[in-house]
């Protein structure tokens, strides 16, 4: 083939980034629409909210005005951000353990059908039992920080396990034949074929697990309630609710939402960075 001229360049190749051209032509307007509109909605909502509170003179323990919430956010910043860090730390540990445990168990299952048949039903039971119902029991058994971490882990674990299992099973049959042809060992097959093929599913699982880990941490902190010695954001919410400090509840709630969005955003970014060279999901225009 050395002499044959190269084929007319990649006929079937959709120019990468083609769908983005529409955006690139008017980047300023596109960006304004994508980020500006939601922010505009937020601003309008806050103004309406502020007006309602002001016009009807709603007391702060029923509905604090946005300004009051913002003031609390600034005044209580040391307390609230300290709590945010505690919750985020739990979330991060729960997530890391879920990724390691879920992916690890899925890999074990892929190597031993026997083990999978034996244990998979219990993984499902762990998933379908509401974590709110399990939390009090864990709080009796375990020191509170460990119990909270365990709850975060329980809810985040299953999506990782399920997605990795599915990913490891969805290997292209011809590629599998090719590995058989060259006498690939189990380890070679796992490392060079199954894990890379499973990666997109694993990253999708991780994105779900990150959000759920936060949910698990919050649920456990709430379950621990005022009896707990914790200091996470959800604990602040419970505590503020007993003291009828509603502005602080709102402030903590806002921080939790922002934390959830940040976790999702970070994991989406990581997923995009890892897959951008080859996977369709990262190549087609994202959100």
């Amino acid at each position: 083939m050395s002499g044959s001229p190269a084929e007319p360049a990649p006929a079937g190749m959709p120019p990468v980034g083609a769908p983005a051209e529409a955006d690139e032509a008017r980047p300023w307007r596109a960006r304004l629409v994508r980020f500006g509109l939601p922010l505009l909605a937020l601003a309008l909502g806050c103004v309406a909210w502020e007006l309602v509170v002001w016009v009807y003179a709603v007391p702060a323990y029923q509905l604090p005005s946005p300004l009051a919430v913002a003031t609390t956010l600034v005044e209580d910043r040391a307390l609230l951000f300290g709590s945010l860090l505690v919750t985020l730390e739990t979330t991060a540990y729960g997530f890391a353990l879920a990724v390691l445990g879920g992916a690890g168990l899925a890999i074990l299952f892929s190597q031993s059908r026997l083990l999978e048949t034996m244990l998979y039903p219990y993984a499902v039971i762990l998933q379908v039992t509401p974590v709110v119902a399990v939390a009090p029991l864990l709080l009796i058994w375990l020191p509170q920080p460990v119990a909270v971490l365990a709850c975060a882990w329980i809810v985040a674990f299953f999506p990782m396990l399920a997605n990795t299992t599915l990913g490891l099973h969805s290997v292209d049959h011809n590629l599998s034949d090719l590995f058989a042809l060259y006498g690939a060992s189990r380890l070679q097959r796992l490392v060079r074929l199954q894990l890379p093929a499973a990666l997109p599913m694993m990253l999708a699982g991780a994105r779900i697990a990150g959000g759920l880990s936060l949910v698990g941490a919050v649920v456990a902190e709430i379950a621990a309630g005022s009896a707990g010695a914790g200091s996470g954001l959800a604990y602040r919410i419970a505590e503020s609710s007993y003291r009828l400090n509603v502005p602080r509840m709102f402030a903590a709630l806002i921080l939790l939402s922002v934390a959830g969005m940040a976790v999702f955003g970070l994991l989406s970014l990581a997923s995009w960075l890892i897959l951008r060279r080859w996977h369709e999901s990262a190549l087609s225009r994202g959100p």
Partner: protein
């Protein structure tokens, strides 16, 4: 044909669990250095025969015999190259990494780099080592698959309708490239196709198969000299050969429908 046998199928039968008898008493000898095409309609077991030779499935009856039949005549890993119907590339790996795979799996990674470069140069893809499969056209992906099959320097190359999904222009170009490689490297090729024209253009011998169950219906030597080119493709000799082979194929199909 007097060259020694590379591999022979002896009265091979293949039945699948669902009851389909894909092959029934297939006798076929592949001789060293030949370009053998298996020609037949879909479902005649051509691909099944190829998978049996590749060792990807086992015959239900009969035997696959290598070389002179001595036990150690069976091919070592990497003595066989296979090109599938689809390019079957790892989408997560660069072109070079895809071509390197057989060397890594057979633990010869130490000699990989020069071999990978040579294989890519041979299929005319020098500049594409770092590209990813999705950035390539269908024809280029197929070239990568051929480079990957050649990288272990196998004696026998098995090709399962490799160009069936490509447009005709690309297909002709790859046919020519493949013939060039075959002449240059002196490999034995078993090529599965359902195109009479492609089979006649490429082969030194064509085995026509009957559908369900697959058996040999005709064994036709194509003696036209090499190198073959567009001149051959448009010659009266080519047309006559196509008529003969096409007739044999029609007979093979007629037998089962009658």
């Amino acid at each position: 044909m007097s060259s020694p046998a590379v591999v022979a199928l002896r009265a091979v039968t293949k039945a699948f669990p669902n009851g389909t008898r894909a092959l029934d008493g297939l006798d076929l000898t592949v001789r060293r250095g030949e370009f053998l095409s298996l020609l037949g309609p879909s479902g005649c077991g051509k691909s099944t025969a190829l998978r049996l030779i590749a060792g990807l499935s086992r015959p239900s009856g009969g035997a696959v015999v290598w070389g002179d039949g001595a036990p150690k005549a069976a091919p070592a890993r990497g003595d066989l190259g296979v090109v599938f119907q689809e390019p079957t590339l790892m989408p997560w790996a660069s072109v070079a990494a895809n071509v390197r795979l057989p060397l890594q799996l057979t633990r010869r990674a130490d000699v990989a780099e020069p071999r990978v470069r040579a294989a890519l140069a041979r299929v005319g893809l020098d500049g594409f080592a770092e590209a990813y499969p999705r950035e390539l056209s269908g024809g280029m992906k197929m070239r990568v698959a051929i480079a990957r099959a050649l990288v272990t320097d196998p004696a026998l190359l098995l090709m399962d309708e490799p160009f069936a999904a490509l447009d005709e222009i690309t297909r002709f170009r790859l046919d020519n490239a493949l013939l060039g490689l075959w002449q240059e490297l002196g490999k034995t090729v078993v090529f599965v196709t359902h195109s009479v024209f492609e089979a006649v253009y490429l082969s030194t011998r064509i085995v026509v198969m009957t559908p369900r169950p697959g058996r040999v219906a005709a064994d036709i030597a194509i003696d036209a000299p090499f190198p073959r080119s567009e001149t051959f493709r448009t010659s009266a000799e080519f047309a006559a050969l196509c008529r003969t082979v096409g007739g044999a194929l029609a007979d093979a199909m007629g037998e089962t429908f009658a």
